[in-house]
Protein backbone atom coordinates (compact mmCIF):
# COMPACT_ATOMS: atom_id res chain seq x y z
CA UNK A 1 0.00 0.00 0.00
CA UNK A 2 1.61 3.26 -1.07
CA UNK A 3 1.30 6.63 0.65
CA UNK A 4 -1.53 7.77 -1.64
CA UNK A 5 -3.68 4.75 -0.87
CA UNK A 6 -2.85 4.99 2.82
CA UNK A 7 -3.95 8.63 2.95
CA UNK A 8 -7.09 7.85 0.99
CA UNK A 9 -7.96 5.14 3.49
CA UNK A 10 -7.49 7.67 6.29
CA UNK A 11 -9.74 10.14 4.44
CA UNK A 12 -12.45 7.51 3.97
CA UNK A 13 -12.35 6.40 7.60
CA UNK A 14 -12.37 10.02 8.81
CA UNK A 15 -15.47 10.73 6.67
CA UNK A 16 -17.29 7.79 8.21
CA UNK A 17 -16.29 8.86 11.74
CA UNK A 18 -17.48 12.41 10.97
CA UNK A 19 -21.04 11.21 10.29
CA UNK A 20 -22.04 10.21 13.84
CA UNK A 21 -20.11 13.14 15.32
CA UNK A 22 -22.07 15.62 13.18
CA UNK A 23 -25.44 13.85 13.33
CA UNK A 24 -25.62 12.98 17.01
CA UNK A 25 -24.01 16.29 17.92
CA UNK A 26 -26.80 18.14 16.11
CA UNK A 27 -29.52 15.86 17.53
CA UNK A 28 -28.20 16.59 21.03
CA UNK A 29 -28.52 20.29 20.31
CA UNK A 30 -24.83 21.02 20.79
CA UNK A 31 -22.59 23.16 18.63
CA UNK A 32 -19.06 21.96 19.40
CA UNK A 33 -19.53 18.31 18.32
CA UNK A 34 -21.00 19.22 14.90
CA UNK A 35 -18.18 21.72 14.38
CA UNK A 36 -15.58 19.07 15.24
CA UNK A 37 -17.34 16.61 12.94
CA UNK A 38 -17.44 19.09 10.07
CA UNK A 39 -13.79 19.98 10.66
CA UNK A 40 -12.87 16.30 10.54
CA UNK A 41 -14.88 15.86 7.33
CA UNK A 42 -13.26 18.97 5.86
CA UNK A 43 -9.77 17.61 6.64
CA UNK A 44 -10.72 14.29 5.02
CA UNK A 45 -11.89 16.10 1.91
CA UNK A 46 -8.65 18.06 1.58
CA UNK A 47 -6.52 14.93 1.26
CA UNK A 48 -7.14 13.90 -2.36
CA UNK A 49 -6.88 17.41 -3.85
CA UNK A 50 -3.65 17.88 -1.85
CA UNK A 51 -2.24 14.65 -3.22
CA UNK A 52 -2.76 16.11 -6.67
CA UNK A 53 -0.49 19.07 -5.96
CA UNK A 54 2.05 17.43 -3.64
CA UNK A 55 5.39 16.24 -5.11
CA UNK A 56 5.09 12.81 -6.74
CA UNK A 57 7.91 11.43 -4.56
CA UNK A 58 5.75 11.92 -1.51
CA UNK A 59 2.89 9.79 -2.71
CA UNK A 60 4.45 7.13 -4.90
CA UNK A 61 6.58 5.22 -2.38
CA UNK A 62 5.74 1.51 -2.40
CA UNK A 63 6.02 -0.27 0.90
Amino acid sequence: MNMTTRLQVIAGVASVIALPVIYFGLRAGGTSAPVYGLALFFCAMTITPLLRVLPTDFSSGEE
Partner: protein, 562 residues
Protein backbone atom coordinates in the same frame (compact mmCIF):
# COMPACT_ATOMS: atom_id res chain seq x y z
CA UNK B 1 -37.11 31.96 -0.11
CA UNK B 2 -36.00 35.59 0.23
CA UNK B 3 -33.40 35.77 -2.47
CA UNK B 4 -33.55 37.50 -5.83
CA UNK B 5 -32.65 35.46 -8.86
CA UNK B 6 -29.86 37.54 -10.35
CA UNK B 7 -26.82 36.74 -12.43
CA UNK B 8 -24.73 36.86 -9.26
CA UNK B 9 -26.92 34.49 -7.23
CA UNK B 10 -27.33 32.17 -10.20
CA UNK B 11 -23.62 32.30 -11.01
CA UNK B 12 -22.62 31.52 -7.43
CA UNK B 13 -25.13 28.67 -7.28
CA UNK B 14 -23.62 27.29 -10.48
CA UNK B 15 -19.99 27.83 -9.45
CA UNK B 16 -19.38 24.45 -7.72
CA UNK B 17 -20.78 22.60 -10.74
CA UNK B 18 -18.76 24.76 -13.14
CA UNK B 19 -15.61 24.08 -11.12
CA UNK B 20 -16.33 20.35 -11.11
CA UNK B 21 -16.76 20.30 -14.88
CA UNK B 22 -13.76 22.54 -15.46
CA UNK B 23 -11.45 20.40 -13.35
CA UNK B 24 -12.70 17.11 -14.78
CA UNK B 25 -13.07 18.10 -18.42
CA UNK B 26 -10.51 20.87 -18.75
CA UNK B 27 -7.75 19.97 -16.30
CA UNK B 28 -8.15 16.19 -16.50
CA UNK B 29 -8.63 15.76 -12.75
CA UNK B 30 -10.38 12.63 -11.50
CA UNK B 31 -13.63 12.85 -9.54
CA UNK B 32 -11.74 11.88 -6.38
CA UNK B 33 -9.82 15.17 -6.58
CA UNK B 34 -12.33 17.48 -8.30
CA UNK B 35 -15.24 16.32 -6.12
CA UNK B 36 -13.80 17.37 -2.73
CA UNK B 37 -12.62 20.75 -4.07
CA UNK B 38 -16.05 21.48 -5.57
CA UNK B 39 -17.65 20.40 -2.28
CA UNK B 40 -15.52 23.00 -0.47
CA UNK B 41 -16.75 25.72 -2.83
CA UNK B 42 -20.35 24.58 -2.38
CA UNK B 43 -19.87 24.68 1.38
CA UNK B 44 -18.38 28.19 1.36
CA UNK B 45 -21.09 29.55 -0.96
CA UNK B 46 -23.85 27.92 1.11
CA UNK B 47 -22.48 29.40 4.32
CA UNK B 48 -21.45 32.88 3.20
CA UNK B 49 -23.90 33.70 0.39
CA UNK B 50 -27.00 31.56 0.95
CA UNK B 51 -26.83 32.03 4.74
CA UNK B 52 -27.09 28.35 5.56
CA UNK B 53 -26.49 28.02 9.32
CA UNK B 54 -24.39 25.34 10.98
CA UNK B 55 -27.46 23.16 11.50
CA UNK B 56 -28.25 23.10 7.75
CA UNK B 57 -24.62 22.54 6.76
CA UNK B 58 -24.26 19.78 9.35
CA UNK B 59 -27.45 17.91 8.50
CA UNK B 60 -26.89 18.17 4.75
CA UNK B 61 -23.36 16.80 5.04
CA UNK B 62 -24.59 14.03 7.34
CA UNK B 63 -27.29 13.18 4.77
CA UNK B 64 -24.61 13.17 2.10
CA UNK B 65 -22.26 10.83 3.98
CA UNK B 66 -25.15 8.51 4.89
CA UNK B 67 -26.44 8.36 1.28
CA UNK B 68 -22.88 7.84 0.06
CA UNK B 69 -22.46 4.81 2.33
CA UNK B 70 -25.49 3.12 0.77
CA UNK B 71 -24.22 3.93 -2.73
CA UNK B 72 -20.75 2.71 -1.84
CA UNK B 73 -22.22 -0.61 -0.78
CA UNK B 74 -23.16 -1.11 -4.45
CA UNK B 75 -19.78 0.20 -5.66
CA UNK B 76 -17.75 -2.15 -3.47
CA UNK B 77 -19.96 -5.15 -4.24
CA UNK B 78 -19.83 -4.40 -8.00
CA UNK B 79 -16.06 -4.28 -7.95
CA UNK B 80 -16.04 -7.53 -5.97
CA UNK B 81 -18.22 -9.38 -8.51
CA UNK B 82 -15.96 -8.15 -11.31
CA UNK B 83 -12.83 -9.26 -9.47
CA UNK B 84 -14.38 -12.67 -8.76
CA UNK B 85 -15.13 -13.13 -12.48
CA UNK B 86 -11.65 -11.94 -13.35
CA UNK B 87 -9.92 -14.21 -10.86
CA UNK B 88 -12.14 -17.10 -11.98
CA UNK B 89 -11.03 -16.35 -15.56
CA UNK B 90 -14.62 -16.12 -16.72
CA UNK B 91 -14.19 -13.33 -19.25
CA UNK B 92 -12.55 -15.42 -21.96
CA UNK B 93 -15.25 -18.16 -21.94
CA UNK B 94 -17.82 -15.37 -21.78
CA UNK B 95 -16.36 -13.70 -24.85
CA UNK B 96 -16.15 -17.01 -26.68
CA UNK B 97 -19.71 -17.97 -25.78
CA UNK B 98 -21.25 -14.61 -26.67
CA UNK B 99 -19.26 -14.57 -29.91
CA UNK B 100 -20.74 -17.95 -30.80
CA UNK B 101 -24.29 -16.81 -30.05
CA UNK B 102 -23.83 -13.39 -31.66
CA UNK B 103 -21.08 -13.57 -34.30
CA UNK B 104 -21.46 -9.92 -35.31
CA UNK B 105 -19.22 -7.75 -33.07
CA UNK B 106 -21.75 -4.89 -33.21
CA UNK B 107 -24.41 -7.22 -31.85
CA UNK B 108 -22.07 -8.31 -29.05
CA UNK B 109 -21.60 -4.69 -28.02
CA UNK B 110 -25.32 -3.95 -28.30
CA UNK B 111 -26.20 -7.08 -26.32
CA UNK B 112 -24.05 -6.10 -23.33
CA UNK B 113 -24.07 -2.30 -23.63
CA UNK B 114 -27.71 -1.71 -24.52
CA UNK B 115 -29.92 -4.79 -24.02
CA UNK B 116 -28.29 -6.25 -20.89
CA UNK B 117 -27.61 -2.82 -19.33
CA UNK B 118 -31.27 -1.88 -19.87
CA UNK B 119 -32.40 -5.20 -18.47
CA UNK B 120 -30.30 -4.72 -15.33
CA UNK B 121 -31.69 -1.21 -14.97
CA UNK B 122 -35.17 -2.71 -15.22
CA UNK B 123 -34.38 -4.97 -12.30
CA UNK B 124 -31.88 -3.34 -9.98
CA UNK B 125 -30.73 0.18 -10.87
CA UNK B 126 -28.43 2.05 -8.44
CA UNK B 127 -25.68 2.16 -11.05
CA UNK B 128 -25.45 -1.65 -11.24
CA UNK B 129 -25.86 -1.73 -15.06
CA UNK B 130 -22.75 0.37 -15.56
CA UNK B 131 -20.74 -1.34 -12.84
CA UNK B 132 -21.56 -4.78 -14.25
CA UNK B 133 -21.61 -4.14 -18.01
CA UNK B 134 -18.43 -2.05 -18.25
CA UNK B 135 -16.13 -4.94 -17.23
CA UNK B 136 -18.16 -7.37 -19.34
CA UNK B 137 -17.52 -5.17 -22.38
CA UNK B 138 -13.84 -4.95 -21.43
CA UNK B 139 -13.94 -8.72 -21.25
CA UNK B 140 -15.02 -9.01 -24.90
CA UNK B 141 -12.24 -6.68 -25.98
CA UNK B 142 -13.85 -3.23 -25.89
CA UNK B 143 -11.52 -0.40 -24.88
CA UNK B 144 -12.27 0.63 -21.28
CA UNK B 145 -13.20 4.21 -22.22
CA UNK B 146 -15.97 2.94 -24.53
CA UNK B 147 -16.83 0.08 -22.18
CA UNK B 148 -17.88 2.74 -19.66
CA UNK B 149 -19.50 5.12 -22.15
CA UNK B 150 -21.71 2.59 -23.96
CA UNK B 151 -23.69 1.22 -20.99
CA UNK B 152 -24.01 4.78 -19.64
CA UNK B 153 -25.86 5.69 -22.84
CA UNK B 154 -27.56 2.32 -23.25
CA UNK B 155 -29.18 2.02 -19.83
CA UNK B 156 -30.33 5.64 -19.39
CA UNK B 157 -33.81 5.32 -20.94
CA UNK B 158 -34.94 2.76 -18.36
CA UNK B 159 -34.20 4.90 -15.32
CA UNK B 160 -37.74 6.23 -14.93
CA UNK B 161 -39.78 3.04 -15.31
CA UNK B 162 -37.00 0.59 -14.47
CA UNK B 163 -36.10 -0.46 -10.91
CA UNK B 164 -39.80 -1.15 -10.43
CA UNK B 165 -40.52 2.46 -11.42
CA UNK B 166 -39.33 4.05 -8.18
CA UNK B 167 -38.41 7.29 -9.99
CA UNK B 168 -41.85 7.50 -11.59
CA UNK B 169 -43.62 6.72 -8.30
CA UNK B 170 -41.49 9.41 -6.64
CA UNK B 171 -42.63 11.97 -9.22
CA UNK B 172 -46.26 10.99 -8.69
CA UNK B 173 -45.85 11.24 -4.94
CA UNK B 174 -44.07 14.58 -4.82
CA UNK B 175 -46.46 16.30 -7.25
CA UNK B 176 -49.60 14.71 -5.80
CA UNK B 177 -51.10 14.19 -9.27
CA UNK B 178 -54.48 12.46 -9.58
CA UNK B 179 -55.07 9.32 -11.66
CA UNK B 180 -56.09 11.15 -14.83
CA UNK B 181 -53.09 13.51 -14.74
CA UNK B 182 -50.83 10.56 -13.87
CA UNK B 183 -52.02 8.67 -16.96
CA UNK B 184 -51.39 11.72 -19.17
CA UNK B 185 -47.99 12.35 -17.61
CA UNK B 186 -47.03 8.68 -18.00
CA UNK B 187 -47.98 8.93 -21.67
CA UNK B 188 -45.76 11.97 -22.25
CA UNK B 189 -42.95 10.60 -20.09
CA UNK B 190 -42.94 7.27 -21.92
CA UNK B 191 -43.08 9.03 -25.32
CA UNK B 192 -40.06 11.20 -24.49
CA UNK B 193 -38.30 8.18 -23.04
CA UNK B 194 -38.91 6.35 -26.31
CA UNK B 195 -37.10 9.19 -28.09
CA UNK B 196 -34.24 8.81 -25.60
CA UNK B 197 -34.23 5.05 -26.10
CA UNK B 198 -34.14 5.29 -29.91
CA UNK B 199 -31.36 7.87 -29.89
CA UNK B 200 -29.52 5.84 -27.23
CA UNK B 201 -29.40 2.85 -29.58
CA UNK B 202 -28.36 5.00 -32.52
CA UNK B 203 -25.68 6.76 -30.48
CA UNK B 204 -24.14 3.44 -29.46
CA UNK B 205 -24.08 2.43 -33.15
CA UNK B 206 -22.51 5.79 -33.97
CA UNK B 207 -19.82 5.32 -31.34
CA UNK B 208 -19.20 1.87 -32.79
CA UNK B 209 -18.42 2.97 -36.32
CA UNK B 210 -19.94 6.40 -37.00
CA UNK B 211 -22.39 6.33 -39.95
CA UNK B 212 -21.34 2.82 -40.96
CA UNK B 213 -22.33 1.66 -37.49
CA UNK B 214 -25.73 3.35 -37.79
CA UNK B 215 -26.30 1.84 -41.24
CA UNK B 216 -25.35 -1.61 -39.96
CA UNK B 217 -27.33 -1.40 -36.74
CA UNK B 218 -30.42 0.51 -37.88
CA UNK B 219 -32.80 -2.46 -38.42
CA UNK B 220 -31.84 -3.95 -35.06
CA UNK B 221 -32.13 -0.57 -33.29
CA UNK B 222 -35.60 -0.01 -34.74
CA UNK B 223 -36.86 -3.43 -33.65
CA UNK B 224 -35.25 -3.17 -30.21
CA UNK B 225 -36.59 0.34 -29.74
CA UNK B 226 -40.10 -0.77 -30.72
CA UNK B 227 -39.86 -3.34 -27.95
CA UNK B 228 -38.09 -1.27 -25.30
CA UNK B 229 -39.61 2.16 -25.87
CA UNK B 230 -42.85 1.11 -27.55
CA UNK B 231 -43.75 -1.55 -25.03
CA UNK B 232 -42.92 0.80 -22.16
CA UNK B 233 -45.29 3.38 -23.68
CA UNK B 234 -48.14 0.90 -24.12
CA UNK B 235 -47.67 -0.70 -20.73
CA UNK B 236 -47.40 2.67 -18.96
CA UNK B 237 -51.17 2.98 -19.37
CA UNK B 238 -51.71 -0.43 -17.81
CA UNK B 239 -49.17 -0.89 -15.03
CA UNK B 240 -46.80 1.82 -13.92
CA UNK B 241 -44.57 -0.44 -11.84
CA UNK B 242 -43.58 -3.29 -14.13
CA UNK B 243 -43.56 -1.71 -17.61
CA UNK B 244 -39.83 -0.91 -17.74
CA UNK B 245 -38.93 -4.33 -16.40
CA UNK B 246 -41.21 -6.20 -18.84
CA UNK B 247 -40.07 -4.16 -21.86
CA UNK B 248 -36.36 -4.54 -21.12
CA UNK B 249 -36.71 -8.27 -20.38
CA UNK B 250 -38.50 -8.95 -23.69
CA UNK B 251 -35.87 -6.89 -25.52
CA UNK B 252 -33.00 -8.77 -23.89
CA UNK B 253 -34.38 -12.06 -25.20
CA UNK B 254 -35.20 -10.48 -28.57
CA UNK B 255 -31.62 -9.37 -29.28
CA UNK B 256 -30.49 -13.00 -29.42
CA UNK B 257 -33.30 -13.75 -31.86
CA UNK B 258 -32.26 -10.71 -33.92
CA UNK B 259 -28.73 -12.11 -33.94
CA UNK B 260 -30.05 -15.01 -36.03
CA UNK B 261 -31.21 -12.64 -38.79
CA UNK B 262 -29.35 -12.98 -42.07
CA UNK B 263 -27.89 -9.50 -41.64
CA UNK B 264 -26.32 -10.29 -38.26
CA UNK B 265 -25.68 -14.03 -38.19
CA UNK B 266 -22.44 -14.03 -40.19
CA UNK B 267 -19.11 -13.57 -38.43
CA UNK B 268 -17.59 -10.18 -39.15
CA UNK B 269 -14.15 -8.75 -38.35
CA UNK B 270 -13.89 -6.65 -35.21
CA UNK B 271 -12.44 -3.60 -36.94
CA UNK B 272 -14.21 -0.89 -34.94
CA UNK B 273 -11.98 1.58 -33.12
CA UNK B 274 -13.87 0.83 -29.92
CA UNK B 275 -12.09 -2.52 -29.76
CA UNK B 276 -8.62 -2.91 -28.34
CA UNK B 277 -5.68 -3.54 -30.61
CA UNK B 278 -5.50 -7.09 -29.25
CA UNK B 279 -9.12 -7.87 -30.19
CA UNK B 280 -8.67 -6.38 -33.65
CA UNK B 281 -5.46 -8.33 -34.23
CA UNK B 282 -6.89 -11.65 -33.05
CA UNK B 283 -10.09 -11.13 -35.00
CA UNK B 284 -8.92 -9.32 -38.17
CA UNK B 285 -11.10 -11.13 -40.65
CA UNK B 286 -13.84 -12.52 -38.52
CA UNK B 287 -12.32 -15.89 -37.76
CA UNK B 288 -15.16 -16.58 -35.40
CA UNK B 289 -15.49 -17.77 -31.86
CA UNK B 290 -12.69 -20.31 -31.92
CA UNK B 291 -10.08 -17.79 -33.03
CA UNK B 292 -7.30 -17.11 -30.52
CA UNK B 293 -8.84 -14.86 -27.91
CA UNK B 294 -7.64 -11.65 -26.38
CA UNK B 295 -7.05 -13.45 -23.10
CA UNK B 296 -9.56 -11.74 -20.87
CA UNK B 297 -9.96 -8.21 -19.75
CA UNK B 298 -6.57 -7.73 -18.16
CA UNK B 299 -4.52 -8.82 -21.13
CA UNK B 300 -6.61 -6.92 -23.61
CA UNK B 301 -6.30 -3.73 -21.67
CA UNK B 302 -2.63 -4.02 -20.99
CA UNK B 303 -1.73 -4.47 -24.65
CA UNK B 304 -3.83 -1.49 -25.56
CA UNK B 305 -1.94 0.75 -23.23
CA UNK B 306 -4.91 1.25 -20.95
CA UNK B 307 -4.24 -0.51 -17.70
CA UNK B 308 -7.00 -1.73 -15.44
CA UNK B 309 -4.63 -2.54 -12.67
CA UNK B 310 -5.26 -6.28 -12.78
CA UNK B 311 -2.91 -9.19 -13.14
CA UNK B 312 -2.87 -11.49 -16.14
CA UNK B 313 -3.96 -15.06 -15.64
CA UNK B 314 -1.21 -17.65 -15.67
CA UNK B 315 -0.83 -20.21 -18.43
CA UNK B 316 -2.13 -22.90 -16.07
CA UNK B 317 -5.11 -20.75 -15.31
CA UNK B 318 -5.80 -20.21 -19.00
CA UNK B 319 -5.81 -23.96 -19.56
CA UNK B 320 -8.17 -24.43 -16.64
CA UNK B 321 -10.52 -21.73 -17.91
CA UNK B 322 -10.33 -23.07 -21.43
CA UNK B 323 -12.95 -25.70 -20.75
CA UNK B 324 -15.40 -23.37 -19.01
CA UNK B 325 -18.78 -23.02 -20.71
CA UNK B 326 -20.65 -19.76 -21.24
CA UNK B 327 -23.20 -20.81 -18.65
CA UNK B 328 -20.48 -21.51 -16.10
CA UNK B 329 -18.77 -18.18 -16.84
CA UNK B 330 -22.09 -16.42 -16.31
CA UNK B 331 -22.76 -18.03 -12.91
CA UNK B 332 -22.32 -14.85 -10.81
CA UNK B 333 -24.69 -12.96 -13.12
CA UNK B 334 -27.25 -15.79 -13.11
CA UNK B 335 -27.03 -15.70 -9.33
CA UNK B 336 -27.53 -11.92 -9.40
CA UNK B 337 -30.67 -12.26 -11.51
CA UNK B 338 -32.01 -15.15 -9.43
CA UNK B 339 -31.52 -13.33 -6.12
CA UNK B 340 -32.93 -10.07 -7.48
CA UNK B 341 -36.02 -11.71 -8.99
CA UNK B 342 -36.63 -13.83 -5.92
CA UNK B 343 -36.52 -10.86 -3.61
CA UNK B 344 -38.02 -8.00 -5.61
CA UNK B 345 -40.68 -9.75 -7.66
CA UNK B 346 -42.19 -11.89 -4.91
CA UNK B 347 -44.00 -9.41 -2.65
CA UNK B 348 -44.11 -11.59 0.51
CA UNK B 349 -40.35 -12.20 0.29
CA UNK B 350 -39.68 -8.53 -0.39
CA UNK B 351 -41.91 -7.45 2.50
CA UNK B 352 -40.36 -9.94 4.91
CA UNK B 353 -36.76 -9.04 4.04
CA UNK B 354 -37.50 -5.34 3.72
CA UNK B 355 -38.99 -5.20 7.20
CA UNK B 356 -35.49 -5.12 8.67
CA UNK B 357 -34.20 -1.65 8.07
CA UNK B 358 -32.41 1.09 9.91
CA UNK B 359 -31.61 4.68 9.14
CA UNK B 360 -31.33 8.27 10.22
CA UNK B 361 -34.13 10.79 10.52
CA UNK B 362 -33.41 14.33 9.49
CA UNK B 363 -35.58 17.20 10.76
CA UNK B 364 -36.88 20.07 8.63
CA UNK B 365 -34.20 22.73 8.17
CA UNK B 366 -34.52 26.40 7.27
CA UNK B 367 -31.77 28.72 6.05
CA UNK B 368 -31.63 32.31 7.22
CA UNK B 369 -32.93 33.32 3.79
CA UNK B 370 -36.00 31.17 4.42
CA UNK B 371 -35.27 28.18 2.20
CA UNK B 372 -37.01 25.17 3.72
CA UNK B 373 -35.80 21.60 3.32
CA UNK B 374 -38.50 19.19 4.51
CA UNK B 375 -37.86 16.51 7.13
CA UNK B 376 -37.06 13.06 5.83
CA UNK B 377 -36.07 9.63 7.01
CA UNK B 378 -33.23 7.95 5.12
CA UNK B 379 -33.75 4.24 5.67
CA UNK B 380 -31.47 1.44 4.60
CA UNK B 381 -32.92 -2.05 4.15
CA UNK B 382 -29.81 -4.20 3.66
CA UNK B 383 -31.61 -7.42 2.72
CA UNK B 384 -33.45 -5.85 -0.23
CA UNK B 385 -30.57 -3.61 -1.31
CA UNK B 386 -28.81 -4.07 -4.66
CA UNK B 387 -25.45 -4.21 -2.86
CA UNK B 388 -26.50 -7.35 -0.99
CA UNK B 389 -27.67 -8.99 -4.22
CA UNK B 390 -24.28 -8.28 -5.77
CA UNK B 391 -22.47 -9.53 -2.68
CA UNK B 392 -24.40 -12.81 -2.67
CA UNK B 393 -23.83 -13.19 -6.41
CA UNK B 394 -20.09 -12.61 -5.96
CA UNK B 395 -19.97 -15.24 -3.21
CA UNK B 396 -21.88 -17.78 -5.32
CA UNK B 397 -19.58 -17.03 -8.26
CA UNK B 398 -16.47 -17.45 -6.16
CA UNK B 399 -17.59 -20.81 -4.78
CA UNK B 400 -18.56 -21.99 -8.28
CA UNK B 401 -15.22 -20.97 -9.80
CA UNK B 402 -13.33 -22.64 -6.94
CA UNK B 403 -15.30 -25.82 -7.61
CA UNK B 404 -14.54 -25.54 -11.32
CA UNK B 405 -10.85 -25.14 -10.50
CA UNK B 406 -10.31 -21.82 -12.27
CA UNK B 407 -9.32 -19.90 -9.14
CA UNK B 408 -5.64 -20.30 -8.39
CA UNK B 409 -4.10 -20.53 -4.93
CA UNK B 410 -4.36 -17.27 -3.03
CA UNK B 411 -7.24 -16.17 -5.24
CA UNK B 412 -9.42 -14.93 -2.40
CA UNK B 413 -6.66 -12.71 -1.09
CA UNK B 414 -6.01 -11.26 -4.54
CA UNK B 415 -9.72 -10.60 -5.07
CA UNK B 416 -10.03 -8.74 -1.78
CA UNK B 417 -6.76 -6.82 -2.33
CA UNK B 418 -7.70 -5.64 -5.82
CA UNK B 419 -11.22 -4.75 -4.70
CA UNK B 420 -9.89 -2.58 -1.90
CA UNK B 421 -7.31 -0.94 -4.19
CA UNK B 422 -9.95 -0.03 -6.75
CA UNK B 423 -12.68 0.98 -4.33
CA UNK B 424 -10.79 3.43 -2.13
CA UNK B 425 -10.38 6.36 -4.55
CA UNK B 426 -13.98 6.08 -5.75
CA UNK B 427 -15.13 6.08 -2.13
CA UNK B 428 -13.74 9.59 -1.60
CA UNK B 429 -15.30 10.79 -4.85
CA UNK B 430 -18.75 9.38 -4.10
CA UNK B 431 -18.77 10.86 -0.59
CA UNK B 432 -17.69 14.29 -1.85
CA UNK B 433 -20.13 14.42 -4.78
CA UNK B 434 -23.16 13.35 -2.79
CA UNK B 435 -22.28 15.67 0.11
CA UNK B 436 -21.90 18.53 -2.41
CA UNK B 437 -25.29 17.90 -3.99
CA UNK B 438 -26.93 17.76 -0.56
CA UNK B 439 -25.31 21.01 0.58
CA UNK B 440 -26.44 22.70 -2.63
CA UNK B 441 -29.98 21.36 -2.32
CA UNK B 442 -30.31 22.23 1.36
CA UNK B 443 -28.93 25.75 1.01
CA UNK B 444 -31.29 26.66 -1.86
CA UNK B 445 -28.61 26.80 -4.57
CA UNK B 446 -30.37 24.18 -6.67
CA UNK B 447 -33.66 26.02 -6.40
CA UNK B 448 -31.96 29.25 -7.54
CA UNK B 449 -30.44 27.42 -10.50
CA UNK B 450 -33.78 26.02 -11.63
CA UNK B 451 -35.72 29.25 -11.03
CA UNK B 452 -33.11 31.20 -12.96
CA UNK B 453 -33.54 28.96 -15.99
CA UNK B 454 -37.33 29.25 -15.77
CA UNK B 455 -37.25 33.05 -15.39
CA UNK B 456 -34.91 33.47 -18.34
CA UNK B 457 -36.93 31.34 -20.73
CA UNK B 458 -40.60 31.93 -19.74
CA UNK B 459 -42.87 30.40 -22.48
CA UNK B 460 -39.89 28.71 -24.06
CA UNK B 461 -39.21 26.94 -20.79
CA UNK B 462 -40.54 23.65 -22.15
CA UNK B 463 -37.45 23.43 -24.33
CA UNK B 464 -35.22 23.48 -21.25
CA UNK B 465 -37.40 21.34 -18.98
CA UNK B 466 -35.47 18.13 -19.82
CA UNK B 467 -32.20 19.97 -19.11
CA UNK B 468 -33.42 20.81 -15.60
CA UNK B 469 -34.30 17.15 -15.04
CA UNK B 470 -30.85 16.24 -16.35
CA UNK B 471 -29.22 18.76 -14.01
CA UNK B 472 -30.94 17.03 -11.09
CA UNK B 473 -29.57 13.67 -12.14
CA UNK B 474 -26.12 15.09 -12.80
CA UNK B 475 -26.03 16.35 -9.24
CA UNK B 476 -27.63 13.43 -7.47
CA UNK B 477 -26.89 10.47 -9.79
CA UNK B 478 -30.51 9.48 -9.46
CA UNK B 479 -33.64 9.86 -11.58
CA UNK B 480 -35.69 9.49 -8.40
CA UNK B 481 -33.74 12.19 -6.53
CA UNK B 482 -34.02 14.53 -9.51
CA UNK B 483 -37.79 14.02 -9.61
CA UNK B 484 -38.05 14.65 -5.89
CA UNK B 485 -35.82 17.71 -6.20
CA UNK B 486 -37.46 19.33 -9.22
CA UNK B 487 -40.90 17.69 -9.54
CA UNK B 488 -42.84 20.40 -7.72
CA UNK B 489 -40.69 23.12 -9.27
CA UNK B 490 -41.51 21.87 -12.79
CA UNK B 491 -45.18 21.59 -11.88
CA UNK B 492 -45.29 25.16 -10.52
CA UNK B 493 -43.33 26.54 -13.48
CA UNK B 494 -45.78 24.89 -15.88
CA UNK B 495 -48.70 26.53 -14.04
CA UNK B 496 -47.03 29.97 -13.94
CA UNK B 497 -45.97 29.94 -17.60
CA UNK B 498 -49.21 28.36 -18.83
CA UNK B 499 -47.48 25.29 -20.24
CA UNK B 500 -49.13 21.87 -20.22
CA UNK B 501 -48.24 20.24 -16.88
CA UNK B 502 -48.16 16.55 -17.87
CA UNK B 503 -45.84 17.32 -20.79
CA UNK B 504 -43.45 19.32 -18.58
CA UNK B 505 -43.44 16.63 -15.90
CA UNK B 506 -42.88 14.00 -18.58
CA UNK B 507 -39.93 16.06 -19.83
CA UNK B 508 -38.60 16.34 -16.27
CA UNK B 509 -38.41 12.61 -15.73
CA UNK B 510 -37.20 11.85 -19.29
CA UNK B 511 -34.47 14.49 -18.90
CA UNK B 512 -33.58 13.05 -15.51
CA UNK B 513 -33.31 9.59 -17.08
CA UNK B 514 -31.00 10.98 -19.79
CA UNK B 515 -28.99 12.82 -17.11
CA UNK B 516 -27.85 9.48 -15.73
CA UNK B 517 -25.45 9.19 -18.65
CA UNK B 518 -23.52 12.22 -17.39
CA UNK B 519 -23.92 11.68 -13.64
CA UNK B 520 -20.42 11.60 -12.15
CA UNK B 521 -21.48 8.90 -9.69
CA UNK B 522 -22.46 6.59 -12.53
CA UNK B 523 -19.33 7.47 -14.49
CA UNK B 524 -17.25 6.64 -11.42
CA UNK B 525 -18.86 3.23 -11.08
CA UNK B 526 -17.87 2.46 -14.65
CA UNK B 527 -14.34 3.84 -14.49
CA UNK B 528 -13.74 1.97 -11.25
CA UNK B 529 -14.91 -1.44 -12.46
CA UNK B 530 -13.37 -0.99 -15.91
CA UNK B 531 -10.05 -0.08 -14.30
CA UNK B 532 -9.67 3.47 -15.62
CA UNK B 533 -10.31 5.39 -12.42
CA UNK B 534 -9.31 9.04 -12.77
CA UNK B 535 -10.39 9.24 -16.41
CA UNK B 536 -13.94 10.35 -15.64
CA UNK B 537 -13.36 13.58 -17.58
CA UNK B 538 -12.65 11.66 -20.79
CA UNK B 539 -15.91 9.74 -20.40
CA UNK B 540 -17.83 12.94 -19.73
CA UNK B 541 -16.30 14.55 -22.82
CA UNK B 542 -18.12 11.88 -24.84
CA UNK B 543 -21.37 11.64 -22.89
CA UNK B 544 -22.07 15.35 -22.21
CA UNK B 545 -22.48 16.31 -25.91
CA UNK B 546 -24.61 13.21 -26.44
CA UNK B 547 -26.76 14.08 -23.43
CA UNK B 548 -27.10 17.67 -24.69
CA UNK B 549 -28.18 16.39 -28.10
CA UNK B 550 -30.81 14.06 -26.66
CA UNK B 551 -32.06 16.71 -24.20
CA UNK B 552 -32.39 19.25 -27.03
CA UNK B 553 -34.33 16.77 -29.16
CA UNK B 554 -36.68 15.96 -26.27
CA UNK B 555 -36.91 19.70 -25.56
CA UNK B 556 -37.93 20.35 -29.16
CA UNK B 557 -40.62 17.65 -28.81
CA UNK B 558 -41.85 19.35 -25.62
CA UNK B 559 -42.19 22.68 -27.43
CA UNK B 560 -44.62 21.06 -29.87
CA UNK B 561 -46.85 19.46 -27.25
CA UNK B 562 -46.66 21.76 -24.21
Amino acid sequence: MNIDITWISWGLAFLPLALLLLLMLGAGWGAAEAGPLSWMFALAIAFFYFDAPLEVIGYENAKGIWSALTVLYVVWASILIYEVSHEGQAFEPLRRGITRLLPDPLMQVMAFGWAFASFLQGVTGFGVPIAVCAPLLVGIGVRPLYAVTIPLIGHAWNNTFGTLAVAWLGLKEVTGMDAAVAAQTALYAASFIWVLNLFGGLLVCWLYDRWNGIRAGLPMVIVMSMIQGGLTLVLSQWNDTLNGFVASSVAFVAIFALGRMKRYRDTKPATSRIFTEARRQTDPDGQGPDAPAPAGAADVVAKDGETNGSVSPSENGKRAAGGMSLQAAFIPYFALLFVTFSVLLIPPVKDALGSWSFGLSFPETVTQLGFVQPARVANFAPLTHAGTFLLVAALVGYLAYVRLGTVRNGGFRRIVGRTVDKAIPSTIAVVALIAMSNVMAGSGSVSVLAQGVAAATSQGYGFLAPMVGGLGSFMTTSNLASNLLFGTFQQTTAEVTGLYGPAILGAQTAGAAAGNMIAPGNVLLGTTTAGILGREGEVLKITIPLFALVALIIGACVLFVA
